[in-house]
Amino acid sequence: MANIDELVAKLAQDASAVKPAPHPFMLSLRWLGAAAIYLAVSFVVFGLRPDLAEKFHNPWFVAEIATLLGLFVATSVSAVLLAFPDLHQKRALALASAWMLALFLLILFFAWRSDTPPAPLPVHDIECTLGITMMALLPAMWIFYSMRKYASTHYRLAGGVALLSAFSVGALWLRLHEQTDSIVHVVEWHYLPMIAIGLIGLWLGKVMLKW
């Protein structure tokens, strides 16, 4: 008990005014804004797919892009909330990205079912995964750097969600840049690696976000 009193006195002595962390919604907005600028710049540099206007007449492509965008927004919000010890007391919202991921997978399933006859596979494969990874590196570093400033009590989940968020930026870029119609290719080389990397994030979260 005496130790506790001593510790309290010492901590109180060290305590100076502290600026509280911004509200998680403000933080998410910052992330989303930065990612939007990053995507815009990369489209200027690498260009959009030439048939994009035409593709937007395909409802499954629109649904895929919309849910991918939704996944990016949901994971960004979740990652920020997971960086707070008490999830900013918004537990349901912090776990909303799981629902969004489920919806995204469902849309991919229907897109695959409607792909008849199947669109021809492109000649490349792993290049897409590498492209997404390269594109996601900067957002991933930035998200982890930002999250380390807070105090996550769910560091594994936070790492997974953060990496999923960063890689959804890369996946979004590639889907709007590369002229590929094969949903099988897109699932195999774009989205499955993206989800697998999200799982690696569980480990990375433990390494990077433990405090």
Binding site: I4, L7, V8, A12, A17, P20, P85, D86, Y150, A151
Partner: protein, 179 residues
Amino acid sequence: MTDQNDKLEKLMKQSLNGDQRAYAALLQETSRLLRPFLSRRLSFSNEVDDLLQEILVSIHKARHTYDGNRPYKPWAYAIARFRLQDYLRAHYSDQLRHAVDFDELEESLPENVTEAGFSYESISAEVNKLPEKQANILQLMHQEGYTAREVAEKMGMNESAVKVAAHRAYKILRGKLER
């Protein structure tokens, strides 16, 4: 109850503005709040004290993640639960590392299990014949129930040195008792 919540939130807001007295009061209140929570989950009072100190330090480090606009208690309990889980995980993995494999145990069991070749007194006597440091370590770990980490803290050693010393002591004891 609501009054106490309001009080804690007010104290935290004042603390974030640099009020050291409010901060000391808040930490005292927090430790009063968390002690029963930890006591229900841990067996030894020294464990409760150690963990409580760790939690207070964590609250101090993470205080910028609390803005004063939401209830204080869930925030403090989230940190306490997190540190408790960490502590229990480390504690049990420490115990597992020291657990003796049943196969290993079988080999060293005397055939006639009803007539042990040695008694508690004889083990105690052999422990006392060990070098002082090793004897102290075994006493703290096996008679007083401390973990290797706690023994390390108590004796000013590092945790792995304690484990190595304990391992050597077990080997010596085993050799002597098997003779």
